[in-house]
């Protein structure tokens, strides 16, 4: 009976168009949103005037933002386009933030208080070049901005962005530095002509007149960047990288001095890099483990000043009053940051030496920005903005870290999840302590709230307590499976564990194996995999994840492997650097400690088994013949299927290494088809039912195979942006390919369409988004795949007689008879990413999660992208829940899961099933992070958050009263009757 009621309820609920909508006051109850900016490239302080002190920064995520200097919060922020890389920022007129972007071709001014764009100007030029920005002086009289880009020098009025003058510098010169000495009206532009000629221009900043031009050949040539030492002194490496060359421009004469690097650095191992401190008269030579500071004398001689014991970072020179100039050196000594602020004139004179404890490991210091202020006792105080190796941003002031921003979270590479520990005495990652006093205080507040005596602040406090007591931020597993850990790998090689309840960082760890080391110059993280998910017999073990990385960006660089404990963040078993990794195949087998078997394919086609223990090898040997995988070579247009052959034949014997052979290959004609997207099903996806019941008691069997890949190819000419090809010369072809046999199950051509294609594959359907050039609109198409070979099974008679193939094994080798149904719909927005909700048992209907170009996430019911929709559905079809056909998909504002928020720079959507069948967790990342939970068919298996318990109690009470009243009345009446 209960089941029947449930089914009836379920049908009732799912037949209405469910949209997971929210009331405005429910924001923050089950979602959280965090804003980040990314790794800071430049910072400019704005502290001169009274009022809000702020720092304007530009970052590697193309963000320009204004931060509160007191707390590190964002005042305003703009995320520029992906190709609009910010080159330089500065502040002009004390009210505009100037950004130079797109390799020096776009100059914008933003209002400092509110971030409103004031003007924009496009700088044109003849050839691509370096780009530089000079905002002379900070006073309000200077209104000229000098920008160099595309081989031209531009002078722009900072008031309205008008071009004042433009000067094209000589074709052959490669400008390396643009300098304007303090208080000067002259601009120096210096650079190389060819590899050995040094050239310098002297230009009047007001008129753009070329005053002087000098060039001189250096005997040793040049390589790398020129470091600016003072207004007329520059330092660079020579062509062989063994000598340092100083360049001096005096009275229009260029003179060179060189010295061998061993004169400056004692025992050079590895590569030396130059550190610039603009106009300090000194520069630093960084050789990995330590830094040497060198002064360049007036004659161009090098004088070694001092050597630090650790790698250091240098700030630009800061003019402080009465003609003094200061700069800052920051170095990391163990778990202490040492900041030294020095006087430019007098090396021995330190304005400030501070040692600050840093409890957390943040790696090396990458950048320093120095700012000064006048203390109440009229002495100078300094504050420094420090960018660390893990992309975090710190503000140091008066010997302590004032605030920290974890901006590594702006560049997430991969996400996975983990269960929290089971509630048990003593087992908890971090204790949530609540003292008796706080408990009492909370209850007092609540009483105040109910008596309407609470102030707005106290109301907020009550709300906070309510959130806490709802237990969503507890560090243990909950009954519904809402509380989990999000394990996040960022670009900096730092791994974070975020709590799904409130988004706080439970732990973070800068991975040793993903840090720069000898033999691994540029390590990059690639992916996270579930390594160990203990349940059943290995419950005492902590779960762990496998981090896969690579040294450098090339495919044949050595790989990096590491296993990280999910509860503590410790690296358990780092293998360190291994063979190259082109592909990771997680296998559906685990050993006795629940470690999942993984097959790592190298670029030679060999497969390496992990974990490397004999038990895993034994399990693997049993399944040896059943392991298949495929590889996609997008450049050559080949898709290949592989299987295992035998153990490797290497010089060093390795029993965990296996050679492979090609099973099949599909070659796409390179002149007409270019692979732009490949999508498979999620390996852990659960499908509840194999069949779909249609109207009129029809039955269709879904073709559910884990070995299907969806491939989209496009005409090479149309692989660029929209507008680069005409409808006649572009077509989109989509394939469904079985990855075991290489059989093409379905092929479909969309004429006059082009990419980019964003697709999602789930159960027996694919939904993909592309651009239709003929209609000039985006379209979404769906393909549903049904199994025809099992269609006979619906005959009951045959079933009784036993003539059915329901028990026959499903194999990729049997030739499938499939039926595909498809349909296309218009969709208004550009799409950045598409995902689909996933639930524990796959019963709940699915929603597509569409990340739009406006950085919002739209939940679209899968029933809108059903290939069976017709213009006039029959009565039976209507009852089934089929939506009448429309030519475009509806965009219902209430079904944006991000509601009134934006996930700036949206890059990925991850869905995680909970134990509660109706609910799915959604984690969205980009520059911002957003987490929520959604119920595609509404929460049919639990009471909603706003369920009124009070009303229930009142009803019960009223009913009880009513029972007693009626009982009394009937007694009374009975008595009366008897007396009559």
């Amino acid at each position: 009976m209960a089941i029947r009621v449930f089914v009836v309820l379920f049908i009732l609920l799912s037949s209405s168009y469910t949209i997971s909508s929210l009331y405005e006051d429910q924001v923050g109850l089950m979602d959280w949103h965090q804003q980040y900016i990314g790794k800071v490239k430049h910072a400019v302080f704005h502290t001169q005037k009274a009022g809000r002190k702020r720092v304007v920064v530009s970052t590697e995520e193309n963000v320009v933002a204004s931060l509160d200097l007191r707390r590190g919060e964002i005042y305003w922020r703009h995320v520029l386009g992906a190709g609009d890389v910010i080159d330089q920022i500065d502040i002009a007129l004390g009210k505009y933030v100037i950004t130079l972007s797109s390799a020096g071709s776009t100059l914008r001014a933003w209002n400092l208080p509110d971030g409103q764009m004031a003007w924009e100007s496009s700088l044109s030029g003849s050839k691509p070049s370096n780009s530089f920005l000079l905002v002379p002086g900070k006073s309000e009289k200077d209104t000229v901005i000098i920008a160099y880009g595309n081989g031209c020098l531009h002078a722009i009025s900072s008031v309205d962005g008008e071009l004042l003058w433009k000067k094209e510098l000589d074709e052959g010169i490669e400008i390396q530095q643009l300098v304007q000495p303090f208080g000067s009206e002259l601009i120096y532009a210096v650079g190389y002509i060819g590899s050995s000629q040094f050239a310098a221009y002297q230009i009047n900043a007001d008129t753009g007149d070329l005053l002087k031009y000098e060039s001189e050949a250096s005997p040793g040539g040049f390589s790398g960047e020129i470091v600016l030492v003072s207004g007329e002194t520059f330092v660079a490496f020579d062509a062989t990288q063994t000598h340092l060359v100083s360049v001096k421009i005096r009275n229009g004469k260029i003179s060179f001095q060189q010295t061998h690097i061993s004169n400056i650095v004692d025992n050079l191992s590895g590569k030396a890099t130059l550190l610039q401190s603009k106009l300090a008269g000194i520069f630093g030579v960084n050789v990995g483990t330590y830094t040497t500071f060198v002064k360049v004398t007036d004659e161009g001689q090098f004088v070694v000043l001092s050597k630090t014991s650790h790698a250091a970072a240098l700030s630009d020179v800061l003019p402080i009053s009465d003609g003094h100039f200061a700069f800052s050196i920051i170095q990391l000594d163990g778990d202490k940051i040492q900041q030294t602020v020095k006087d430019v004139e007098d090396w021995g004179n330190d304005f400030l030496i501070e040692r600050i404890d840093m409890t957390e490991k943040r790696g090396l210091v990458h950048k320093v920005f120095l700012n000064n202020y006048i203390k109440t006792d009229r002495s100078y105080g300094f504050r420094a903005l420090v960018v660390m190796e893990d992309h975090s941003l710190l503000l140091l002031q008066q010997g302590e870290i004032v605030w920290t921003r974890e901006d590594g979270l702006a560049s997430i590479i991969d996400v996975t999840t983990s269960e929290l520990p089971i509630e048990k005495q003593g087992v908890s990652v971090a204790k949530v302590e609540q003292t008796l006093f706080e408990w009492l205080k909370g209850h007092l507040l609540k009483v105040k709230g109910t008596l309407m005596l609470a102030t707005p602040d106290e109301v907020a406090e009550i709300q906070k307590i309510r959130l806490q007591s709802s237990g969503k931020s507890k560090m243990t597993r909950d009954h519904n499976g809402f509380r989990k850990l999000l394990i996040v790998l960022s670009k900096s090689g730092k791994i974070f564990a975020l709590h799904t309840g409130d988004g706080r960082i439970v732990w973070s760890q800068l991975l040793r194996s993903l840090q720069k080391s000898e033999g691994c110059e540029f390590p990059v993280g690639l992916n996270l995999y579930h390594w160990q998910v203990p349940h059943h017999h290995a419950l005492d073990e902590n779960p762990s994840v496998l981090v896969v990385g690579r040294c450098g960006s090339k495919l044949d660089n050595p790989g990096v492997l590491s296993v990280v404990d999910v509860y503590t963040g410790n690296e358990v078993n780092p293998w360190g650097h291994v063979h190259s990794i082109s592909q990771v195949v997680p296998l559906p087998f685990t050993d006795s400690t629940e470690q999942r078997l993984h097959l790592l394919i190298d670029t030679h086609g060999n497969a390496h088994l992990y974990p490397t223990n004999t038990e895993a090898l034994e399990i693997f040997q049993r399944e040896f013949t059943n392991v298949y995988w495929y590889s996609v070579e997008a450049d050559t247009g080949i898709i290949k299927g592989h299987t295992l052959k035998s153990t490797c034949t290497l010089e060093v014997e390795d029993k965990y290494c296996f050679s492979s052979r090609d099973l099949w290959s599909i070659v796409f004609p390179s002149e007409s088809e270019k692979i732009i997207a490949t999508v498979t099903r999620k390996p852990n996806e659960v499908v509840h039912t194999q069949a779909k019941v249609m109207a009129e008691q029809e039955l269709m069997y879904k073709y559910i195979s884990k070995n299907l890949v969806f491939v989209a190819t496009v005409t090479p000419k149309a692989s660029g942006e929209i507008g680069s090809a005409t409808p006649d010369e572009s077509q989109l072809v989509v394939y469904l390919i079985d990855t075991v046999t290489g059989r093409i199950l379905n092929r479909m051509v969309h004429h006059g369409s082009q990419g980019p294609v964003h697709a999602v594959f789930s159960e027996n359907w694919v939904v993909y988004h592309y651009f239709n050039l003929r209609a000039h609109r985006y379209e979404m198409s769906v393909i549903e795949i049904y199994d025809q070979s099992r269609a006979d099974n619906k005959d009951v008679l045959k079933l009784i007689v036993g003539k059915h193939n329901l028990t026959s094994p499903v194999s990729s080798y049997s030739r499938p008879e499939i039926l595909t149904k498809s349909q296309s719909y218009f969709f208004a927005h550009t799409v950045k990413v598409v995902a689909v909700t996933s639930t524990a048992k796959g019963i709940t209907s699915r929603h597509l999660l569409i990340g739009t170009v406006g950085d919002q996430v739209l939940a679209l019911d899968k029933r809108f992208v059903d290939p069976r929709r017709t213009a006039n559905p029959t009565q039976a079809e209507r009852e089934e829940g089929l939506v009448p056909l429309t030519d475009s998909l509806p965009i219902i504002p209430q079904s944006y899961v991000t509601h009134g928020l934006k996930v700036e720079g949206l890059r990925g959507i991850v869905t995680i099933p909970t134990k509660l069948e109706s609910t799915s967790l959604v984690f969205t990342y980009g520059v911002d992070l957003f987490f929520t939970r959604i119920a595609p068919s509404k929460t049919y298996d639990s009471l909603t958050e706003d369920f009124s318990y009070a009303l229930l109690l009142i009803t019960i009470f009223v009913l009880l009263v009513a029972i007693f009243v009626t009982w009394y009345l009937s007694e009374k009446k009975e008595l009366e009757e008897k007396w009559r």
Binding site: S724, H776, K821, S822, E977
Partner: protein, 215 residues
């Protein structure tokens, strides 16, 4: 197949477009050409933005104008003006991303033959634009409106219905019973008993009690 149908529709749209462009007044010129490409200049106009935007500071500054799905992202100037530079001749798509408003994407044709000519049409409703002034098609309300407290909503809830039924059974039922003539009632009951049909009294406990008391 659905695709053929759609493509027929698409062809018709194409045709409509062509007809539309012939009927439309001559295209407006808002470009300045050079060797790299052309410029597209336009304006985003949101009615009532100045008054409404006061509650949410910096709202207009968060509007983005996007060319070809992210190729170039542009921001609005103080009066809502925007421009794209170095755009090649061809057919492009402009989208406006503004929280709280739905904008139709705009198809923009930059002519190569007549440098400096831009034609624009909304793709959602195929309306041509005389000048590149983009206005929202609709406002977007991201939240369900919470209905103000009303007695009806209380009555409609399951608990309300329970109470309602109870009141009905308690107050109205005895009233109904009173209206029936006792003689007739007795006759009807006996008739029912003789037919073996479950009597009304066993169905209604209140009435049953009353009947039992009477007998």
């Amino acid at each position: 197949m659905g695709f053929q149908k759609i493509s027929v529709v698409a062809n018709m749209i194409q045709l409509l477009f062509l007809i539309g462009f012939f009927l439309l007044p001559p295209a407006f010129a808002s470009t300045s050409g050079n060797a790299d490409g052309y410029s597209i200049n336009g304006r985003v106009k949101i009615p009532g933005f100045g008054t409404k935007g006061l509650g949410l500071p910096g709202k207009i500054s968060n509007v983005k104008v996007i060319l070809n799905g992210g190729q170039i992202v542009s921001f609005l100037g103080p009066d809502g003006y925007f421009s794209f530079h170095n755009v090649l001749a061809g057919t492009h798509l402009i989208e406006v991303s503004a929280m709280g408003y739905f904008f139709s994407p705009v198809r923009v044709d930059v002519s190569a033959r007549h440098p400096g000519k831009v034609q624009a049409a909304l793709t959602e409703n195929r309306r041509g634009l005389n000048e590149l002034v983009l206005e929202p098609l609709s406002e977007e309300q991201y939240f369900e409106m919470r209905e103000p407290f009303s007695v009806m909503s209380l009555v409609k809830s399951p608990m309300g219905m329970m109470i309602g039924f109870m009141v009905f059974a308690m107050v109205l039922m005895p009233k109904l019973m009173e209206n029936i003539d006792p003689e007739e009632m007795k006759r009807a009951q006996e008739e029912m008993r003789s037919q073996g049909v479950p009597s009304l009294s066993s169905l209604l406990p209140g009435a049953g009690a009353a009947a039992a008391a009477r007998s």
